[in-house]
């Protein structure tokens, strides 16, 4: 199985073209195996009672952050469909939708970076040495703050991969015609090859991480995180069961009964 695609040019030199898409099937298979193994382990384990969603609602995600998440997710899936389906043989005019979704993703990420740097508690998502104690697992492991070590690791990996995909994607975007500019040839063939390789590798890794993200989102014991990303809140019981109130002290979800009755994306939180 090839990892990198090369082509011999007219002068007999090898030209780097990008990642070998044989790896796509490897990533899909590996991700599937990881998910199956985890699901089997979790099935064998006796799960305890789930904390109640009733009672006091505490803010976990602000409306801006939830909008960011879902816009990013939508852009990501458009990028994935338009980028990968043609590779597996589904032919359609994919390029415009791909770069438009890429620009949406880039804008969302710029917004998120600015907001995280100046308005959010950046340390809450950053992995600290003390978080490594969570690796012990079971009763010996301390409860996390706002984000668990796994969530922080997922965020860090996704952040690095998305930044690589976006950075290389922008370099590739400059090489095609858009309504705002005519294509440029500022990158050499070799540099373009590296851009395509990094774009492809980051895409493959993102496919794996996104599949894991979806799997954990769908797991019964984690579904309150999905609700939190939709509605913004967790219950006091959920906080107590999964997080250390000493390390994360959220505010009430929103003022008034409206948030309790209909806590939509408008509910605010810090």
């Amino acid at each position: 199985m090839e990892i990198v695609r090369y082509r011999e040019d007219v002068w007999g030199r090898e030209v780097l073209l990008g990642v070998s898409w044989d790896l796509l099937w490897l990533v899909i298979a590996a991700t599937f195996i990881v998910i199956m193994v985890h699901a089997a382990i979790m099935l064998a384990r006796k799960s305890g009672p789930r904390p109640s969603a009733d009672g006091e609602r505490l803010s976990r995600h602000a409306a801006q952050d939830r909008w960011f998440h879902w816009i990013t997710a939508a852009a990501f899936f458009v990028l994935l469909a338009t980028g990968v389906l043609p590779i597996v043989g589904v032919k359609f005019p994919w390029l415009t939708a791909h770069w438009v979704a890429g620009i949406v993703l880039t804008a969302a990420i710029v917004f998120h970076i600015v907001r995280s740097l100046f308005w959010k508690d950046l340390a809450a998502i950053w992995i600290k040495p003390s978080d490594l104690a969570e690796l012990a697992g079971g009763a010996a492991a301390p409860l996390p703050g706002k984000y668990s070590l796994a969530q922080k690791g997922m965020h860090l990996a996704m952040a690095v991969l998305v930044l690589v995909a976006v950075g290389t994607g922008i370099a590739m975007l400059v090489q095609i015609d858009t309504p705002w500019w005519a294509r440029s040839n500022f990158l050499s063939e070799a540099a373009l090859g590296w851009m395509f390789l990094l774009h492809g590798l980051s895409t493959l890794a993102l496919i794996g991480f996104a599949a894991l993200h979806l799997y954990f989102t769908a797991r019964p014991e984690k579904q309150f995180y999905l609700r939190a990303m939709v509605k913004g809140w967790v219950s006091r019981s959920e906080l107590a069961a999964h997080h250390d109130p000493a390390r994360w002290t959220p505010d009430a979800a929103a003022s008034g009964d409206a948030a309790q009755a209909s806590p939509g994306l408008g509910a605010d939180a810090r």
Binding site: R5, R7, D9, V10, W11, G12, V15, L17, G18, P86, K91, F92, P93, W94, L95, Q175, I176, D177, R183, N185, E189, L192, G193, M195, F196
Partner: protein, 329 residues
């Protein structure tokens, strides 16, 4: 680039039936070259610009040859030579548009050997691609023709998506104007593909020029009765009158009623990766007589949306003039 001048080692298969050919195509797909008349084959292979492990020579399959009348029109086997099409009375009588298109392909010698299927499925003439450079169409990451120093006099005005190569087929625009359908056959069965869907642009598939799958063989082309005995116009402008590809060409089919155009189909060659239909012109001329003034009114619609490259702006007025001449009658 090294010129090898000799054929590389290639396994040769010479099936005698369509079934054997499709079986081989399915087994060897991706690594085999389907050989028809062979007029655009050996250069690729001798230059090592394309490499294949096997060649499936279709010329021994009689079922893929000949022109026959069908209940809905005329069916032409994909292996029918261009000379046979030019000389066939049925084509000359009902579809002289195709006869004229076939008659201007390359040279008499090439028309004697070249087939309709080969003419439709031939690869683009972009020399960067044919030279063996790692361009988009060759599976690479860039286009050499659409670059500041690129020589793109012969390249596309429309529908360029990264790659700016154009379809070189003369018969393709005639078949598009005639609303022909292509019959693609494989081990999975046969399917009928309208001409407008048979040719694909780089926005959909940047490495292939037709919708044929790797295991499919173009078996025949069907010409519907709809456009039989209509009024036609075919014109090809090239640097040479013989043995050259179109800079711009036009095929027009016009159904007249009481001296006015009832229905029309126009397709231009040399301006896009596919036969470039002119729907705005087709709409504009309906109900009008075939005249100088109609041509004058419609000509500017033909080039609407054109995106000329550094060296092919001349194609815009050329295309407009061809529309004028097609409507002049």
């Amino acid at each position: 680039m090294t010129a090898y001048d000799v054929m590389p080692d290639i396994e040769l298969y010479q099936p005698a039936t369509v079934e054997d050919a499709t079986e081989l195509a399915a087994r060897l797909k991706g690594s085999a070259w389907l050989l028809a008349g062979g007029q655009d084959t050996y250069g690729w292979l001798k230059d090592r610009a394309k490499t294949v492990e096997a060649m499936i020579d279709l010329k021994g399959i009689d079922a893929l040859k000949g022109i026959r009348e069908t209940p809905g029109g005329v069916e032409i086997g994909a292996l029918t030579t261009l000379t046979e099409i030019v000389r066939h009375p049925l084509i000359g009588e009902r579809y002289p548009l195709l006869r004229e298109a076939a008659a201007v392909v390359a040279s008499p010698q090439i028309r004697n050997m070249g087939t309709l299927g080969g003419n439709l499925c031939q690869d683009t003439r972009c020399w960067y691609y044919r030279r063996g450079l790692s361009c988009y169409r060759a599976g690479g990451n860039t286009c050499y023709a659409d670059s500041p120093a690129g020589m793109n006099r012969e390249h596309a005005l429309f529908g360029a998506s990264r790659c700016v190569a154009v379809s070189p087929s003369d018969t393709a625009i005639a078949l598009s104007a005639l609303e022909a359908t292509m019959i693609a056959t494989s081990r999975r069965g046969s399917r009928e593909i309208p001409a407008d869907d048979f040719f694909v642009g780089p926005d959909v598939d940047i490495v292939n020029m037709t919708a044929l799958a790797a295991d499919e063989v173009l078996a025949s082309v069907r010409l519907p009765d709809r456009w039989a005995n209509a009024e036609f116009h075919f014109e090809k402008v090239a640097d040479r009158n013989v043995w050259d590809f179109a800079l711009v060409s036009i095929a027009a089919a016009l159904r007249m009623r009481d001296g006015h155009i009832e229905n029309a189909r126009f397709a231009c060659g040399g301006v896009a990766c596919v036969p470039y239909r002119l729907p705005a012109v087709e709409r504009a001329v309906v109900g009008k007589p075939r005249s100088e003034s109609t041509g004058e009114q419609a000509a500017h619609l033909a080039s609407r949306g054109a995106k000329p490259l550094n060296h092919n702006q001349f194609k815009v007025p050329l295309m407009e003039n061809l529309v004028r001449r097609a409507l002049r009658g």
